[in-house]
C-alpha cells in the first residue's frame, strides 16, 4: 500500500500537523513532514483528525432481517459516519447467542471490509431472559466477544442478572443492560408525561429505567463486576450513575445522539420516525444528559443505529417499530449538541466516541485495536471531519438499506470527509488529494 500523507490536520482539534501512514500504521506525526519516495497526499487543512470512531451499540440486522440492513450496508454507513469499529447487537434472527452466530457476523464484517465488526453476544438464550447463553464459548470464539446484551429487552430477573455479571468476570466481559422494567412499560409507546396523557399513548415512565439502573449498579458492586447501561434517557438515571461513580462502583453508561437532541414534544404529530426505545424524553432530561456527557458521568455516545424497512415506519404509531438510524449522523449531532454549545471540545469527542467505547468493549488491545491515540506506532484508524460545513440530511443518500432517520430535512453541522481503517480509506469525499487517491 502506498504511504499516505495527511497534511495540516488538527489532531483532536489541536494545531495543524501532518500524519504519515504506511502499511496501516501511523509512522510519523508532526509539522511539515516530507516523506521520501512515492506516496499520496491528502490536504486536510481545516479538518479535525479523530481516532476512528467506535460504536458500542449498532443493530446490523444480519442474520435474519437483511431487508432492513446487512453487515455490508451497515458497516458502509458506519464508515461514512467516521466509525472504524461497531459492536453489532445480538437481537438478530437467529439471535447471536452462540459462538456460531457471533463468528458468522464477525466474518461478514471482515469480508465487507468497511469497519471492524465486534459482535455482542446475547446474555440469555433467545433473549428470553430465562437461561444464560454460552457466554464463555462466545468469548473464546474467533469473534472474541466481550460485550453481552439482550438489548431490545431487559435482563429483568435480578438473580439471572447477578449470575451474568458474575460469570463474565472470567473473561473480563461486560453486561450491557437495556434498562426497562417490563411491568412498568407494558404497551408503552412514548415518554410518560402530560403529552402521553393528552395524545392517548401509553406512557413509558422514567422510573421504569431508573429502577433497573439502580438495581444493576448495586448488583455489579455486590459481585464486583462491570455493568454498562445502554442508552440512558432520563435525568434520574444520570443522577443514579453519578452517585454510583462517586462511590467508585464499576458502572459505565452511554447516551444516544438522538437523546441529546430530540424531545418528546416531537411525538405530538404521531410521526413514527420519532418512535424509539427508550423514548424521547423532556428538554430537562436532554439538558441533564448533555451535562452528564460533558462531565464524564456518561462515558460514551453510542448510536443505537436501528434500521427498519419503510413499511415498519410508514404506518400508524402503535404499529410502528421502535428505532431510528444513527451511524451516519452521530458525529454531526454530537458537534451540534456538545461542541458547538461549548460543552465538549474535540478531544472530549474523541474520548466519548472512540477511546472510551473501545475501552469498555475491550477492543483497545489485541490484534486489531481501536480507540487508540493518534500517535506514531498506532494503527491508522482515523476520521477526518470538516466542522465548518452544514449538511441538510437526506435519507435517500444513506448507505443504510433503511431510511428511518428523524433528522430528514434538518440542517446539521460537520461532515465526515474521510475514514481510514488501518490506513485504508473506507470512506472519502475529499477533493484535496494530490499525487494519488485517498
Amino acid at each position: 500500500m502506498t504511504p499516505i500523507l495527511i497534511q495540516n490536520a488538527r489532531v483532536l482539534g489541536g494545531d495543524p500537523q501532518d500524519i504519515l501512514i504506511d502499511d496501516g500504521v501511523i509512522v510519523a506525526l508532526g509539522a511539515g513532514l516530507r516523506p521520501e519516495g512515492e506516496h499520496s497526499s491528502v490536504d486536510a487543512t481545516g479538518l479535525i483528525a479523530l481516532p476512528g470512531l467506535v460504536d458500542l451499540h449498532t443493530h446490523l440486522r444480519e442474520p435474519g432481517r437483511e431487508d432492513a440492513e446487512t453487515v455490508e450496508t451497515g458497516t458502509k454507513a458506519a464508515a461514512r459516519g467516521g466509525f472504524t469499529a461497531v459492536h453489532a447487537m445480538a437481537n438478530t434472527d437467529p439471535v447471536a447467542d452462540t459462538a456460531g452466530v457471533v463468528e458468522q457476523v464477525w466474518r461478514l464484517g471482515r469480508e465487507a471490509g468497511h469497519a471492524d465488526v465486534r459482535p455482542v453476544g446475547a446474555v440469555t438464550i433467545g433473549l428470553k431472559g430465562e437461561r444464560l447463553a454460552e457466554l464463555g464459548a462466545m468469548a473464546e470464539s474467533a469473534a472474541g466477544v466481550r460485550v453481552f446484551s439482550d438489548d431490545g429487552l431487559c435482563v429483568h430477573d435480578a438473580q439471572l442478572m447477578r449470575r451474568a455479571l458474575e460469570y463474565v468476570k472470567a473473561f473480563d466481559g461486560v453486561i450491557a443492560q437495556h434498562a426497562q422494567e417490563p411491568r412498568l412499560t407494558e404497551g408503552a409507546q412514548m415518554n410518560e408525561g402530560e403529552l402521553s396523557g393528552r395524545l392517548g399513548l401509553r406512557g413509558w415512565p422514567c422510573v421504569a429505567e431508573e429502577a433497573i439502573v439502580a438495581r444493576d449498579v448495586l448488583l455489579a458492586a455486590h459481585v464486583g463486576s462491570r455493568v454498562h447501561i445502554c442508552h440512558l434517557s432520563t435525568k434520574g438515571s444520570v443522577e443514579i450513575v453519578r452517585l454510583a461513580k462517586e462511590r467508585g462502583l464499576p458502572v459505565t453508561a452511554e447516551v444516544t445522539p438522538h437523546h441529546l437532541l430530540l424531545t418528546d414534544e416531537l411525538v405530538a404529530g404521531y410521526d413514527p420516525r420519532y418512535k424509539v426505545n427508550p423514548p424521547l424524553r423532556t428538554a430537562e432530561d436532554v439538558a441533564a444528559l448533555r451535562e452528564a456527557l460533558a462531565d464524564g458521568t456518561i462515558d460514551i455516545v453510542a448510536t443505537d443505529h436501528a434500521p427498519h424497512p419503510v413499511e415498519a415506519k410508514d404506518c400508524e404509531w402503535d404499529a410502528a417499530a421502535f428505532g431510528m438510524l444513527g451511524l451516519e449522523t452521530a458525529l454531526s449531532v454530537v458537534q451540534h449538541t456538545m461542541v458547538d454549545t461549548g460543552l465538549l471540545d474535540w478531544a472530549g469527542v474523541a474520548d466519548r466516541l472512540s477511546f472510551a467505547p473501545a475501552r469498555i468493549g475491550r477492543c483497545d488491545t489485541g490484534d486489531v485495536p481501536h480507540g487508540r491515540p493518534v500517535a506514531a506506532g498506532e494503527p491508522a484508524n482515523l476520521t477526518l471531519v470538516d466542522p465548518s460545513t452544514t449538511t441538510t440530511i437526506d435519507p435517500s443518500t444513506s448507505a443504510s438499506l433503511s431510511r428511518n432517520t428523524p433528522y430528514e430535512g434538518m440542517k446539521l453541522p460537520g461532515t465526515v470527509v474521510a475514514t481510514f481503517l488501518r490506513g485504508r480509506p473506507t470512506h472519502s469525499i475529499t477533493a484535496g488529494t494530490t499525487g494519488g487517491h485517498a
Binding site: 408525561g193 402530560e194 393528552r198 395524545l199 401509553r202 400508524e316
Partner: protein, 312 residues
C-alpha cells in the same frame, strides 16, 4: 370550518358553535318528519372505515351520511382486507383511488386518523370516529349538543365526568370541547384512572364523587371496560361501584334539574344503576338520537361546498 375533524381541540368556539347550531338545524329539518332525507351531499362519497368494532357509532355516521343523500361505503375490519393485515396506508390509497370525499375512521391506535389526514396518502376529509385512548370528537359534540338543548348555553355550567378517564377518548374530547364552550369540567376518578399530566388539562380533578356532585348541571358517567377489572386499576368491581358508581343516593346529591349522561354501552349496576340510567334525568337515549344530528352537521360542514381543497 376545519378540513379534518381529528380532535375536539381543533374546534374554535366559533367552529364548535357553528356545528352545534347546524345540528340544531338538522334536527329541525328532520325531527318528526316522515321523509328525513336532505339532498345536501348528493354525489358525495363517505367511507366509514372501521378498524375497530362499533356498531353504534358506525350506524350513526351511516345514517347521518344517508340522510344527507351521500353515497356511503362501509369498510370494516372483519371479513375485509383489513383483517388480512392490509396497512392503513394501503387502505387509504385504495379509498383515494375509489374517490372518497370523506373518510370516517375508527381505529384502536391513537393518532391513526391524524396519520391518515397528514401523511399525504389521501385527499379526503377525515373525521375521527374514535382513535385508541385519544379522542372521539363527535361524541363530545353530541354530548354538548344534548346538554345545550336542556341547559342552554354551556358557558359557566358545571359538568362532572366520572370514571375511567385514563382510557377514555370520550373524556379527552369532552374536556377540550367543553372548555372551549366555557363550561367548568371536573373529572372524578380513582388516581389510577387519571392520566399523567391531567393537572395541565383545562379542568379540575377530584377523587371524591359525593363531593363533586353538589351543584353539578350534568354528570357524565364513563364506561368501565371489563379488562380493567383485573388489571389492578382498582381492587374490585364492588369497591369501584361503591366509590364511583352513580346510584339513587348519589343522584339525590345532585341538583334536581341536573342531567345524567353516558356514552354507552353501559355496565348497568357497575358505573350506573338501572334506576338512574332509566330515570327522568337521564338523557342517555337522547344522546343517541342527537348523535345523528351532530354527525349530519359535521359531514355537511366538511363536505358540502368547495372546502375540500382548503388546508386545515
Amino acid at each position: 370550518m376545519i378540513r379534518h375533524l381529528l380532535s375536539a381541540g381543533d374546534l374554535s368556539l366559533e367552529d364548535a358553535t357553528l356545528v352545534l347550531d347546524t345540528a340544531d338545524e338538522m334536527a329541525r329539518l328532520t325531527e318528526g318528519r316522515a321523509v328525513k332525507k336532505l339532498p345536501t351531499l348528493r354525489g358525495r362519497t363517505v367511507v366509514n372505515l372501521f378498524f375497530e368494532d362499533s356498531t353504534r357509532t358506525r350506524t350513526s355516521f351511516e345514517l347521518a351520511a344517508k340522510r344527507l343523500s351521500a353515497d356511503v361505503v362501509n369498510f370494516s375490519a372483519k371479513g375485509s382486507s383489513l383483517s388480512k393485515g392490509e396497512s392503513l396506508k394501503d387502505t387509504a390509497l385504495t379509498l383515494e383511488a375509489m374517490g372518497a370525499d370523506g373518510v370516517v375512521v375508527r381505529h384502536s391506535s391513537s393518532g391513526a386518523p391524524y396519520r391518515l389526514a397528514t401523511s399525504g396518502w389521501i385527499n379526503a376529509c377525515v373525521v375521527n370516529a374514535g382513535d385508541g385512548t385519544h379522542e372521539h370528537p363527535t361524541q363530545a359534540l353530541l354530548d354538548a349538543f344534548t346538554m345545550r338543548r336542556h341547559l342552554g348555553e354551556l358557558a359557566g355550567k358545571k359538568i362532572v365526568i366520572v370514571g375511567d378517564v385514563l382510557h377514555s377518548r370520550v373524556a379527552r374530547s369532552n374536556v377540550l370541547l367543553l372548555a372551549t364552550l366555557g363550561a367548568k369540567v371536573t373529572l372524578v376518578a380513582p388516581p389510577t384512572l387519571l392520566p399523567n399530566g391531567v393537572d395541565a388539562w383545562p379542568c379540575a380533578t377530584s377523587y371524591d364523587l359525593d363531593d363533586a356532585l353538589a351543584g353539578a348541571d350534568a354528570v357524565m358517567m364513563l364506561r368501565v371496560q371489563n379488562e380493567r377489572m383485573n388489571a389492578a386499576f382498582f381492587p374490585s368491581a364492588r369497591e369501584y361501584s361503591r366509590r364511583y358508581g352513580l346510584d339513587s343516593r348519589r343522584q339525590a346529591l345532585m341538583p334536581p334539574e341536573a342531567l345524567v349522561l353516558h356514552p354507552g354501552p353501559m355496565n348497568r349496576g357497575m358505573e350506573i344503576t338501572a334506576e338512574v340510567a332509566d330515570s327522568a334525568r337521564s338523557v342517555i337515549v337522547e344522546q343517541v338520537t342527537n348523535g345523528v344530528y351532530v354527525r349530519m352537521a359535521v359531514l355537511y360542514l366538511m363536505l358540502a361546498g368547495t372546502n375540500t381543497t382548503e388546508e386545515a
